[in-house]
Amino acid sequence: MRGKAALMLVWGGVLLAGGAGAVLRFVVDRTVARRAARSFPFGTLTVNVSGAALLGLLGSLALNRHAALLADTAFIGSYTTFSTWMLETQRLGEERQVLDAVANVVASIVLGLAAALLGQWIAGRL
């Protein structure tokens, strides 16, 4: 019975952390995109790169099973977005902004990997 209650609690936590991540993504993406006011999707790039850094950090902290589920999968999982990255890249291509489309893929991968490494490096120093 106690196991079942704990499970429900964790799942409720996943709902909340996931929701919070989604709202934070919307706010950050919108703020950055409005400030930048460019065709290049700086908002999504910011969200994905900062998410990668955070995940690199949290992943190296060796949290317990439930905390990792909440922080990594639920929160960062809904904060970052693969689908938006792909959709916005496709839209750039559709409007003949091929350089921006390629730059969006390359920059996301290079900066994302660097951010994840940086997160791990910071975690190692803590």
Binding site: R34, T44, E88, R91, E95, Q97, L99
Partner: protein, 368 residues
Amino acid sequence: MDRGPTVNQPCLKLTTYFGERQRVVTDHVRRPGFLADAMLDLFDTRELATSVMLRGIAGFGPRHILRTDESLSLSEDPPVAIAAVDVESKISGLVDDVVAMTGHGLVTLERARLVRGDDVLDVGNGDASKLTVYVGRQERIGGLPAYRAVCDLLYRQGFSGGAVILGVDGTAHGERYRAQFFSRNVNVPLMIISIGTAAQVSAAVAELSAAAPNPLMTVERVRLCKRGGELFARPHRLPDTDDQGRPLWQKLMVHTSEATGHGGVPIHRALVYRLLDSGMARGATVLRGIWGFHGDHKPHGDKLFQLTRRVPVVTIIIDTPEWIARTFDIVHELTAEHGVVTCEMVPAVVTRAGPDRHGDTELARHDY
């Protein structure tokens, strides 16, 4: 059924620009409905000859908040434009209701004429004309979808350009037609905006009236400023007010295509960002067409399987004469090689920003 005005009467075109997610301003309903719905309900009740709701792809207003379908987060509240045309008395009778229900947005009134084939159009003073045709989505003329038949005709007549913009709701001959997901949406109106000389417009009106049973068409006088990079004339430099002190406004329409770019970006995208950066524009709305033509390019649309878009796009900029003169410099620079730019006078503009209301619905008079 109300057949609408039967002769070439002076008409008014009422256009409202706002964010699609906006709800009606009212104090007696707890959860008011969407503004666009309420406005079309009003037009339905008053049996307007024609009205159409158009969904934009990008734009900003006086608050300089960018909305664009390029980004997922910035596309959740797209700009819409709702245009309605009928005789002066009918439009004047509902303008105040429209202004009252709009919380944030721009309401404009322009003089237009609803025309029929037997009307004699006075071929004006060398300025160009804007012919707008309203047909149903699935209506057919001579075995072709009506919008394609109309574009073919306008192209044959040598018009400078034409764009078909899909409506999602509207009225035609006093009847409401609203797009639904599970429906063929036969009569949901779409709008065909085209630019030609007065003579071309006269000929097209006669030919269209013969080809279609009861077409809805309006003619407005415009100045053709640019075509294909060539500058014909800058916008008229109008005074700030008419001789009665009523403010004058102007509207620039920039007709481009998804296929024409400036510095690697489609012209309409570059235009919105430049205008926003400049801080010299009160707003802009970009409408994307589904079919159209410009210059020597035959009428075309998008295909189901394609990598890049090539449909026409219309960018609308409404501002005071002084600001339009400055905005035109930006438009001029970005349309160095492509695009059709027209300018016209807007005799009444009301801006709503919450409790603030600027402008009047009384129409200014100015001969130019």
